[in-house]
Amino acid sequence: MNIVVAMKQIPDLQQIRIRNRKPVLDGVPSALGVIDKNALEAAVLLKEKQGGKVIVLSAGNEEVEETVKEALAAGADEAFLVLDDDLEGADGSTKAMVLAEAINKIEDVGLILFGEGSGDNYSGQVGSRVAELLGMPQAAYASSIEINDSSAVITRSLEDGDEILEVSLPVVVSVLGDINEPRIPSVTQILKAGRKPKEVLELEDLEINLTGLPEIMTVSNLAPETDRKQVKVASVEELLQALRTEGVI
């Protein structure tokens, strides 16, 4: 049984600057989503127990080929990439169709893992969309995953409690950011990553029709106005005085 881990390339959020309330994305390097790395780690841990392959799946622009090396270094066996400039910034419905179609081309998939939300948009819809497209059961917000033969036992952490589901394979699961601590690849692993097998497709290699999909239109995307005093105070006494003057204590 193989495990597919869907990973999204996002701009490195730490490096985004705001100018005139607008995010400046030029020159910001790409990275893999933080929680996607937890999904990868969960896959690698399961594979170490029961065999099979971990296949990292990503759809995006050409840079993804470079970005995904990090996942190959951190334990993925192969990469399956759909690269196309049209996929840059594509919304959830497009991405889901591309990923689902790619998964159809991968053999013996028992488990498809996502992070609970992408690092940039955190919308959490692509995993659910892929499950619907593939007609598979799903379980989001997993804090643990156990595989037994043809089924999985998944603990999902909800606001009011932990729900433990038994689901037959194949299943789509999204994991929480605290399900594990992703490993840091060694230098040798990083050097070897480039030599791992990679299947690279373009959009036109997939039999999907992306026209007529609903569209998300963006009216504006601005940083909120912040206007903080940023006053340095030298002592606790001074802090208390300031807070009293503000009338908040």
């Binding site: 419905s93 959490g124 999909l213 009216v219 909120p224 208390l240």
Partner: protein
């Protein structure tokens, strides 16, 4: 547009969705899945409620919930759906959107109707920006809890609807309720929030003492709850936690990454305590004290 459908498995959130839906259209329908008391509450809030009962509608089977709701949408010819952006609701949003060929926005904090557009506000780029977006075509929008008041009483109705649901074999083996932490940090006027700068769990008692003296609540950054498990997730401020607007936020040992600050930037006054004078949080603060938070807590507890 021929009406708006609302659904949440959580009764309180379902009532909030009714209020939001009425901003869009007068004609609002609601759904309850294997839940009589939810159906009654929805009808009592004045909406036409479709009650679907089916043994294959297992709680936790998101695909089955989406299939059931789709049948109501098809029958009533509705293509606008509001869901709650709690975890169940968010999970359902993508699945239902895919099932009905809709665009989807989750974690929406406010909606504004502009002609035929339903403009949704949501955080983007990890919370660094606020995006205003709308969906062209069928739409599924999931609203953050407590973005709208619960709908008041009205005269609704309940109709039973037979829906076809496949048995997918999903079984709920167990449900372990979390020890209820009934704190509502979103309503607090004063928040004392701790981050990973806090040295150990025992020190929380001093933090709690300080919060009590100030008449506020203890809150935290995400890792304090999810990694260290020192406090409940109810107390997390930020993108995946709560969005708070206290009069005063005292932030202790929090670095100020954007996924955190998005939850506190509406505070009136922010004071930050950090040993690092270049911590990002300092750019978000009104008052900055470069010091060890444990000393500051001790001194505040003495002086207050």
């Amino acid at each position: 547009m021929a009406g708006v459908l609302v659904y949440s498995a959580n009764q309180g959130l379902a009532l909030e969705l009714i209020t939001a839906a009425r901003k869009i259209e007068d004609f609002v329908v609601a759904v309850s899945l294997n839940d009589d008391s939810l159906a009654q509450a929805l009808a009592a809030a004045g909406v036409r409620t479709f009650k679907i009962s089916n043994p294959n509608l297992v709680v936790g089977d998101t695909g089955a919930a989406a299939a059931a709701i789709k049948q109501v949408l098809d029958k009533e010819n509705i293509d606008t759906v509001l869901l709650s952006s709690d975890r169940r609701g968010k999970e359902l949003a993508g699945r239902l959107a895919q099932a009905i060929g809709a665009g989807c926005l989750t974690d929406v904090t406010a909606i504004q109707v502009d002609g035929s557009k339903i403009e949704c506000q949501r955080n983007a780029l990890g919370g660094a920006t606020i995006a205003v977006q709308y969906i062209e075509g069928p739409k599924v929008m999931a609203l953050r809890p407590r973005s709208y008041e619960a709908a008041g009483a009205g005269n609704g109705s309940i109709e039973e609807l037979a829906a076809e649901i496949k048995d997918t074999g999903i079984k709920v083996i167990d449900f372990k309720p979390k020890a209820a932490d009934r704190v509502n940090i979103e309503a607090a006027e004063i928040l004392v929030a701790v981050g990973q700068g806090l040295s150990d769990e025992e020190k929380l008692a001093d933090v709690q003492a300080l919060a009590s003296k100030l008449g506020g609540e203890v809150a935290c950054s995400k890792p304090v709850a999810t990694d260290k498990k020192w406090l409940s997730e109810e107390r997390v401020i930020g993108l995946s936690g709560k969005k708070c607007k206290p009069q005063l936020a005292l932030l202790l040992g929090i670095s100020g990454q954007v996924q955190f600050t998005v939850g506190i930037r509406d505070a009136r006054v922010i004071a930050a305590v950090n040993t690092d004078e270049n911590a990002a949080i300092n750019y978000m603060a009104d008052y900055i004290i470069q010091a060890d938070l444990h000393d500051v807590i001790e001194e505040l507890n003495e002086k207050l």
